[in-house]
Amino acid sequence: MPGFALLFLLIGLGLIAWLSARARAVMLGKGAGPRLHSVPAYHGWYVALWALVPALVFLAIWQFVAPGLVTDTVLSSPAAASLPADAMGRSAILEEARALASGELAGAFNPQSETLVPAFASASRFYGWTGTALALLLAFAGGAFGWTRLKRDFRARNKVERVVMIVLLIASLIAILTTLGIVLSLLFESLRFFSRVSPLEFLFGLTWSPQTAIRADQAGSSGAFGAVPLFWGTIFIGAIIAMIVAIPLGLMSAIYLTQYAHKTARRWLKPMLEMLAGIPTVVYGYFAALTLAPWVRSLGVALGIPSSSESALAAGLVMGVMIIPFVSSMADDSIAAVPQSMRDGSLALGATTSETIRKVLVPAALPGVVGGVLLAVSRAIGETMIVVMAAGLAANLTANPFDSVTTVTAQIVQLLTGDQEFDSPKTLAAFALGLVLFLITLLLNVAALRVVKKYREAYE
């Protein structure tokens, strides 16, 4: 039976279970004697859960078990006797026969797989119906079990609420699982990478050219995985150029909006500033590559500096603009958190507004601003599309902003979007870079949160 039909049938059964159990509870509650412990709807939920959950859990497991059972049956059928002995060839034919039987393929590449189609079709039909029958049986058995427990003093609500709590707990555990998944997958692949390339070479080597690793007979076939040029490029674009743009603009925007701007102006300007953060990075990247990069290049040529068509400056400038709302909202928050008494004291001594801002508010809010900048740096170095599109892929170790540099994120994209076998050092290097990126952003975030927290405590 097709999956969707079965699912609908099960949900229908659950509905019937809910309705009938509720009706039963209403019946139980009639007449003299103590009241029902739970309202009838909870009895309905209780039986419906018993009818649905075991059946659905069984179906989920069956999805994984059934293909293996089908293959085993086909292999033991007489048609499979002539299959090649090696595992590779056999599984290729089996896969093709499976696709033919399920209608995914119209014609066979290998004539041998044609002979297996009837066996496959009958086996998968058999196991499909077995699964359906077992699921329905479980649904009925579960529902019946739940039904027998309905009584006047049955604590249905407590049981149902316990299930709800378990669901909530599982949902919140997914965050831990995701973090664990990230850490484990990055660590696992990185360890495989570091078993081929020494971590010291990776962290301190000055040459990055993973492309040479494609062919074994080439000179330098092991590739060069010195990631320092990438780290430098990342810092150059994300932490230097972008911050030179974002910190003054973001901080001054926040100061103007909170201290000077008229209320109506603020109501219009603030969402517009926030819109900068809502524009997809691919749009920024396209803008940087298409509009800004040629200007930057001609500027560089005019200044007599060696320039390339993809430059650190174009990418960094646009990234800085992207980060402005981020810096400005953090600065906004921390300036607003400075106690009013400090502001009033400064004004009462005769300081002008700008003197109050410069000498009192900003110094007092500085830890918050620094925390915000750290968060902004962590976001800038993790940014991908702008650098992929505008900064280039040449791993140069240069301080010339008009030259092309590359970053960790751009290289991850570059390494993983070719047609590479999965365990070449080239693809594994992407995970090692990802691990470094993950650790650095994590460190920056923890540091930023700690700074902000400490500062909050100082004023509370």
Binding site: L269, M272, G278, S354
Partner: protein
């Protein structure tokens, strides 16, 4: 003394002016970016058409109108060389370079027209077909002089017309910039977003409820909170690596399918929903909970009957903002292979697909000049959707926001 005051006031004005300049620069950049995209992209919605008269009985097309009714019509159309017939007609009408004047995909329109009305095969019929990429650029004044001259001649003959490029909204990716459309990518985005919201919304809301209402203060809860706060700050490309390692290489889900993209983006969006949800739940006053508990509701009833409905507008606002971010996300989807050339819209969540931002990225990489306006046009479509989503979020916030 007076001099000093004057100086201090001057510096006050200067400071104020610097602040204004800062915000003006930021907003000016935004305006400049939007205007540039508009300027480049609006032309992408306009297509240039050329009139081609196809004389079916005289053409090399052997198609019997009778074969095009009932069963077998699809097969008959698929085997007929309509492309050749159109090229032939164009050469007959415009000279040896005629076949290069019409777009590579123009014959598809002829095919669709024949499928709609097989009787036209008995006579001569004039079609208004999209022109090739070069000629289209010439129409927009952006092509080499010989092509421009050819275009001017055609225009003088009256064979050129212009119109709204419906094909851009209904088509899919193609090699010819004049024939590309965004429907395929849009549908991919839609399917991906459906998977994302179906997974991220319940999980996010449930975790927010658990953490805010029930979680005991212990080490486990701290661990969950730290994970969520960190996940919200992890660069998106790391989620792409996770998707590649876990969903593709470990679980063997289909490559470049919306289900994998949706799963990856759901993991990315979930922390955003949790954080927004917790803030919304926190802002529901304790008196509501106390009153419900006081009249005998159980803790689960308090939350699901009273707290959750009151917090829902705030949660929805956060969800929409998170979804808008997911809709514009490119990098993680590149990691899981959603960058293939896909010329047909995906039929389901397990078929190869691409999404709008990735399509923009792919087109931006094309060398052909005609892709510039198409890229910008696709950006306009994407921005319109993002603006609509953010506008909806702001509307919800203003309409349902309550101060207690």
């Amino acid at each position: 003394m007076r001099k000093r005051i004057a100086r201090r006031y001057r510096s006050e004005r200067r400071f104020r002016w610097v602040g204004f300049a800062a915000i003006a620069t930021s907003v000016g950049f935004l305006a400049f970016l939007l205007i540039t995209m508009m300027g480049n992209g609006l032309a992408g919605f306009v297509e240039t058409r050329i009139a081609v008269a196809v004389d079916f009985p005289k053409s090399s097309l052997f198609l019997d109108p009778a074969a095009l009714t009932g069963a077998g019509a699809q097969a008959a159309l698929a085997t007929a060389d309509i492309e050749g017939a159109v090229a032939e007609a164009a050469i007959a009408q415009y000279g040896p370079d005629g076949a290069d004047l019409v777009s590579e995909a123009a014959w598809l329109r002829v095919r669709d027209a024949i499928a709609d009305d097989p009787d036209m095969l008995q006579g001569r019929k004039s079609f208004s077909l999209p022109v090739s990429g070069d000629l289209d650029l010439a129409a927009k004044g952006d092509a080499p002089p010989p092509v421009e001259a050819r275009f001017a001649k055609l225009k003088a003959d009256g064979s050129i017309s212009r119109g709204f490029n419906l094909g851009f909204l209904t088509g899919s990716d193609a090699t010819d910039p004049a024939a590309v459309g965004i429907w395929g990518a849009f549908k991919g985005s839609l399917l991906t977003m459906i998977v994302t919201i179906v997974l991220a919304f319940p999980i996010g809301v449930f975790s927010a409820l658990y953490l805010e209402e029930y979680a005991p203060r212990n080490r486990w809860t701290d661990l969950i909170e730290v994970s969520i706060n960190n996940l919200a700050a992890v660069p998106s490309i790391i989620f792409g690596l996770l998707g590649l390692a876990v969903f593709l290489n470990f679980m063997h889900l289909p490559r470049s399918a919306p289900i994998v993209g949706g799963l990856t983006l759901a993991l990315m969006t979930m922390p955003v929903i949790v954080i927004a949800g917790r803030n919304a739940i926190k802002s529901v006053p304790p008196s509501v909970r106390d009153a419900a508990l006081g009249v005998g509701a159980s803790p689960v009833q308090v939350v699901f009957h009273h707290v959750l409905p009151l917090a829902l507008p705030g949660i929805l606002t956060g969800t929409i903002i998170g979804m808008a971010r997911a809709l514009g996300e490119t990098a993680p989807l590149l990691m899981i292979g959603m960058r293939a050339f896909i010329a047909t819209p995906p039929g389901g969540i397990s078929e190869p697909a691409t999404v709008l931002p990735v399509q923009i990225f792919l087109w931006s990489d094309e060398v052909s000049h005609g892709f510039i306006e198409k890229t910008s046009a696709a950006i306009i479509v994407l921005l319109v959707f993002l603006l609509a989503m953010n506008g909806l979020a702001i509307y919800l916030r203003n309409k349902f926001e309550r101060t207690w």
